[in-house]
């Protein structure tokens, strides 16, 4: 499926913060290629305002893009009581690592936890599979 069809949907720029999740970690212990690992990894958690700006519903897919790569993941509400428009959360995984910039300033440490992406609805498209990532 090409990505051209999403061009008309509104797009917004968000800062992504990554974190760890014990359920996803447990799934990883069982299998990197399993369904559970994908379901718990290929997700972006958004603020309600950003969800409405994107004209999407929770559970639909979105395409995340930046200079490092692109990946389709499922959009979910973050569930935090405090609003955080402009900031989205992703569990640390091969899906978030597609988007981590290559530039390290020579320090040997990439910016794993803090990078920007453009987000747009990918309604109808399925989540990028782990084997498609590489």
């Amino acid at each position: 499926m090409g990505f051209g069809q999403f061009l008309a949907a509104p797009e917004i720029k968000l800062k992504v913060v990554t974190y760890r999740d014990v359920f996803q970690n447990t799934a990883q212990e069982s299998s990197r290629f399993g369904e559970d690992y994908e379901t718990l990894s290929a997700v972006i958690r958004l603020d309600l305002k950003d969800i409405s700006k994107l004209s999407i519903k929770e559970g639909e897919t979105v395409i995340l893009r930046n200079g490092s790569g692109k990946v389709v993941v499922q959009a979910q509400k973050s569930g935090y009581e405090q609003a955080h428009p402009g900031i989205a959360y992703m569990v640390n995984s091969p899906w978030s690592n597609v988007l981590v910039p290559e530039d390290t300033g020579g320090t040997g440490v990439p910016k794993f936890k803090d990078f920007e992406v453009t987000v747009q609805s990918a309604r109808g498209a399925s989540v990028t599979g782990i084997k498609e990532i590489f």
Partner: protein, 411 residues
């Protein structure tokens, strides 16, 4: 002993049937999954075709022998004995050698080994700590039994009233993590991304009696409140998570805070190390070379090159390596794809109990025994305490120590 994380819980009991762990008692869900083993064990292969162990080892040896600049990476899920053989192999082949600490807790472990940061054991925390700070750390997800075994809930020798009265736990983070929820709102300090150094300086100021100010307008009364709690601590412990490590450009603000705290109180710091023996690798390499990671051996001479340019990330980014041996790690998953991509262009050898993205791209895959279940050895817990891993049962898979020994002999 569970090898699911660097807490290395030693109170685990298992039930087995043949060579399978069927029931695991006392571990957290991640530990149970680790001890039961993965659903996709690695096969022994050469060029994606099934091979016997001798053929795979011969091929691995010839790849490393032919390479001008090989990389040996991983080590966090290996026993100290295996790590020492790996260091010898790197020396012999003039390889770059590195581990995950290179892009996570390395600077903190290094400062502890150089005695620049004061540390203590998890047992000290359990028995004595009355003020506990989780900074950029969410143990409820990364080290699920941390709070219950050591840092918050247990009754300790000098903390008989446990968390209800005897301990204050504080969370400092950019998001309200599950650990922050446990520590309650009044003890949660939410910072903007990258605000840790500034908050640390404000807290150090507050400890010195100055008015603490931040550009993000965190209530100065709350910072003063925190500084009072920390000042009065009888035994304090700061657990440093990746959130803090990635946010600090240099460690000076942390050194200044720790020095200031120790003018009034007795504060210690422990890194929230993820992989069960990452700290062991740092200790073992440090004992041999004076460096904890990011090294390049020069084959014939005794020369060593050390620094960020020898880190796994930079040698991949700059395409400096022409072969790699990966032990118990999955860099194609854990590194940014834009950086890890180079691994797919060079001959790769992986030693691991399980299939992962890196093994799927490897010229040689060698299955090894699962540490703490099918093989034993020693390891170093996140707090620097050495522990012994006991093998639970024999399996037909060799330990990574044995595989590395055979590869070294074959070269």
């Amino acid at each position: 002993m569970c090898t699911g994380c660097a807490l290395l819980c030693d109170d685990i009991e298992v039930e087995t049937e043949g060579d399978k762990v069927t029931v695991v008692h006392a571990a957290c869900r991640k530990g149970v999954a680790r001890m039961k083993g993965c659903s996709e064990p690695l096969e022994c292969t050469v060029d994606a075709e099934g091979a016997d162990m001798d053929t795979a080892i011969a091929k691995a040896a010839s790849i490393l022998r032919d390479a001008k600049n090989p990389l040996i990476f991983g080590h966090g899920n290996s026993s100290s004995e295996a790590q020492k053989i790996s260091i010898g192999l790197a020396r012999k082949t003039g390889a770059y050698i590195d581990d995950t600490s290179s892009f996570c807790q390395g600077p903190i472990v290094e400062a502890i080994l150089q005695e620049r940061l004061r540390t203590c054991t998890l047992d000290d925390v359990r028995h004595k700590a009355d003020v506990i700070v989780f900074w950029g750390a969410d143990p409820s997800n990364s080290h699920p039994r941390h709070l219950s075994r050591y840092s918050y809930f247990p009754r300790g020798k000098e903390r008989q009233r446990g968390w209800e009265e005897d301990r204050k736990a504080i969370t400092i983070d950019i998001r309200k993590s599950e650990t922050a929820i446990i520590c309650k709102d009044e003890r949660f300090y939410q910072l903007p991304a990258g605000g840790d150094a500034e908050f640390m300086a404000a807290l150090t100021n507050a400890l010195s009696g100055k008015v603490p100010k931040t550009s993000f307008d965190l209530d100065s009364k709350r910072i003063l409140g925190l500084s009072n709690i920390m000042k009065k601590a009888k035994f304090g412990a700061i657990f440093v998570g990746l959130g803090l490590v990635y946010s600090l450009e240099e460690l000076d603000p942390l050194f200044a805070l720790m020095d200031k705290l120790n003018e009034f109180s007795d504060f210690h710091l422990i890194p929230m190390v993820g992989q069960y023996n990452m700290r062991g690798f740092n200790h073992n390499l440090f004992a041999e070379t004076g460096y904890i990671n990011r090294l390049k051996f020069d084959g014939d001479s005794k020369e060593l090159a050390h620094g960020p340019e020898n880190s796994v990330v930079e040698v991949l980014r700059n395409k400096n390596i022409d072969a790699a041996l990966i032990i118990g790690s999955d860099p194609l998953s854990s590194l940014p794809l834009s950086i890890a991509r180079h691994l797919a262009d060079i001959p790769l050898i992986t030693i691991d109990p399980c299939n992962n993205l890196t093994t799927s791209r490897s010229a040689v895959t060698i299955p090894c025994a699962l540490g703490g279940v099918e093989s034993g050895g020693t390891a170093i817990r996140m707090d620097g305490v050495e522990v012994e891993l006991k093998k639970i049962f024999d399996s037909d898979r060799l330990s990574d120590q044995e595989i590395l020994k055979r590869i070294t002999e074959a070269i």
